[in-house]
Symmetry: C2
Subunit: 227 residues, 2 copies
Amino acid sequence: MLQQNLSLTVDAVVFGYDAKDGLSVLLIKRLYEPFKGKWAIPGGFLLAGESLEQAVERELKEETGIKVNYLEQLYTYGNPDRDPRSHIVTVAYYGLIRRTKFELYASTDAEDAQWFNINNLPKLAFDHQTIFDDALARLRGKIAYEPIGFELLDEQFPLPDLHRLYETLYGQKIDRRNFSKKILQLDILEDLNKFQAHEGRGRPSKLYKFNKAKYFALKEKGMMFEV
Amino acid sequence: MLQQNLSLTVDAVVFGYDAKDGLSVLLIKRLYEPFKGKWAIPGGFLLAGESLEQAVERELKEETGIKVNYLEQLYTYGNPDRDPRSHIVTVAYYGLIRRTKFELYASTDAEDAQWFNINNLPKLAFDHQTIFDDALARLRGKIAYEPIGFELLDEQFPLPDLHRLYETLYGQKIDRRNFSKKILQLDILEDLNKFQAHEGRGRPSKLYKFNKAKYFALKEKGMMFEV
DNA sequence: GCAAAAGTGTTCCTTTTACACCCATGC
DNA sequence: GCATGGGTGTAAAAGGAACACTTTTGC
């Protein structure tokens, strides 16, 4: 085995969504060199005997205290000079989380952990800007044919929230009425017959819940989710 | 850095297509333990200072003598017990090649190298069956919205060949007339005003060539390739 | 009552699907 | 001439886009 000085890390681009803040990413301020004091995507070295997903979840816990509710492998970056220390290959993941559910805390391995709106990121360490760009592109593409958007919203959510999420992700207006027609006719949302507590003017919106079982049943039958 | 005993390999699922043999995969017979004498996907250890793609291309050259004309990263498999030797993480790729273009030869690192029809694979070493399944699923999905199918055909090809390729990949009949309409109206094929040398009965088919420049121009304008 | 936000329905147009006919070759 | 495979067109059906009206709330 001729390989030398090779290390393997995992990194995770974690997206969070919030009705007022829009789509955000979780970043940490690095506590150690290289790029000490710079913002970066959370991540760290894979331990022996640990699966990649375990490593991601462990690092997220250690560095930010959160637990994502969706996690998917994104891409593996292996350019020999992407890390100034040595040849370090990283397996990048992206995750989704309900922002309302967790409080951030910066812990042992990071000076600080914070949400940043995706349109207002600081300069990132390593090749993390590339990783972020890839993650966002993947999320945009994936949300059109897999119902992962729900993972960013509260368990009970009004349709307009989902609508706003899609408009944010696509960066363009989507007709409100066509959107709800399309979503509702998929028959994967459960009408909770409840209304959202008023938070402004206008008619209160109905609350829905994503019905996972129904979705998988339809998927088995070959029905496609498509927004 | 607490990691220990971690190694990194690359593997490649190489697809080849042939009008009579259908869709095939390139496998090698392993020369060394573990799984000595068993069939496996070509691959091997990443060398220090080498990019992942370089490693894949080097291994393919060494083990089978071929050079793919399309290569894309598939997924990284990191389950700690996927290799009996130790914790070995592998970055898998899939590649496409024009079978008519290369002659296989088994070289230093493999006892034998051979094409296998995708419906008739031998039992594979390691978790290579999973990797193959994932690669096939990815190819099926990708061919619908990226014109990578051309990479499997001769540079000059008749439409019926492309049609057969899509039918093979989707595993179902596609209306011949609707298919050519859809492809031709994308305006990415160049009509060569030549006809295929006869190879049976029936009217000879026109030869076309994929026009990469035209495709990228359309893509820039936001036009989507969709079959 | 008015503005703002949400729910529902209808029409038009584009795209997809299904299907029929003609053409060029080998035997 | 007939069977085989390839090229082209057209009509019906489905899906998506555009758009209007009504309902419920806060002020």
